[in-house]
């Protein structure tokens, strides 16, 4: 009921704050419980302040900052209650190199912690590829027909190295 929801909320708020600080190397972030007519259906507001900046509306954050804030929130939810899989489609598209690295570190931690979360992510980013435990390629050797193939990590690294 409501007591359980409030307890969960408290845990989510603390974890969200921690993950935010880790992904942003500082700053602070908070969740706010907003009462609605339904006592077990609150609204949840986000207050976030990247390091050195003033606390402002989250809507004013940059594209990359919003993505990172969202990832901190997802991390908190997964840590509280792991799921059978987590699928992330190009969530690193808006991130700069330094933030891609922090994003991958977050996934690695959730993957090795008690949660043992398994992630399948889609990415065009070479830094994300480099952090893969398993790498798959999708291609269309016959046009319009997708094929999946396992990619050897060392071969891929060689290929990326050559293309630079």
């Amino acid at each position: 009921g409501r007591a359980r929801l409030r307890a969960t909320f408290k845990g989510m708020k603390v974890l969200f704050g921690e993950y935010f600080q880790r992904l942003f190397s500082g700053g602070e972030a908070n969740l706010v419980w907003i009462e609605t007519e339904d006592p077990i259906a609150p609204g949840i507001d986000i207050r976030a302040r990247p390091p050195g900046k003033a606390m402002q509306s989250v809507y004013l954050l940059s594209g990359g900052e919003k993505a990172l804030t969202a990832l901190a929130l997802i991390g908190a939810v997964l840590r509280l209650r792991p799921t059978p899989i987590c699928l992330l489609d190009e969530v690193d598209a808006a991130l700069d190199d330094a933030n891609v690295a922090r994003f991958c570190a977050l996934l690695a931690e959730l993957g090795t912690s008690a949660q043992e979360m398994r992630f399948v992510i889609i990415s065009h980013h070479r830094l994300s590829m480099a952090k893969a435990d398993h790498l798959f390629g999708v291609g269309m050797p016959e046009r319009g027909v997708s094929r999946l193939y396992a990619v050897d990590m060392l071969e891929a690294a060689e290929h990326i190295h050559q293309s630079n």
Binding site: P42, Y59, A70, L87, D89, I121, F136, M140, L148
Partner: protein, 168 residues
């Protein structure tokens, strides 16, 4: 409990049966634009019971069936299977005693979708219920489609309540 495999057959650009095994840690899927990566994510949302064709970029649900190319005829059906590992025997009833749970959804042109769990035909809501018990589902925060990551932050406060319910 973990999803250990995703199998697509006739789903969107995956004309042929395709098996993706999901191991521990981080799996990264790469490839050029338009090769089918997001279609895999949508296949998982679909087999978990996604009802809105629009959320799968289609106009109607049959749009997920392989539509053919200039060289290859279109298919009459599409099927996606998810394999869940239940070694720890923690699955919700009535599946707590089986080592593996295989959930599948199939759609035939002109006939709509059918669902199965371990080869028993079930209703869509049974599948949605099973995944809901596992805190996941086609609208879960555990599945973020392309372009949607910022929505968690840009949404209204009441849209975010789902996260709280998932975590509880």
């Amino acid at each position: 409990m973990h999803i250990t495999a995703i199998t697509l057959s006739g789903f969107k650009s995956f004309a042929e049966s395709t098996h993706l095994s999901v191991d521990r840690g981080l799996t990264v899927v790469i490839g050029p634009n338009g090769c089918g990566k997001s279609n895999i994510i949508e296949a998982v949302r679909w087999v978990m019971g996604e009802n809105s064709a629009k959320r799968l970029r289609g106009a109607e649900m049959e749009d997920v069936i392989f539509a053919g190319t200039r060289q290859r005829r279109r298919r009459q059906s599409a099927e996606v299977r998810l394999t869940l590992d239940n070694q720890a025997r923690r699955a919700p009833a009535p599946f707590q005693d089986v080592p593996e749970i295989v959930v599948s959804r199939r759609i035939e042109r002109g006939q709509g979708s059918t669902y199965q769990i371990n080869n028993q035909e079930v209703r869509a809501c049974d599948v949605q219920m099973l995944f809901a018990d596992l805190s996941i589902g086609s609208r879960s925060a555990s599945i973020i489609s392309q372009g949607e990551i910022a929505e968690l932050v840009e949404n209204k406060p009441d849209a975010r309540r789902l996260l709280l319910e998932e975590a509880a």
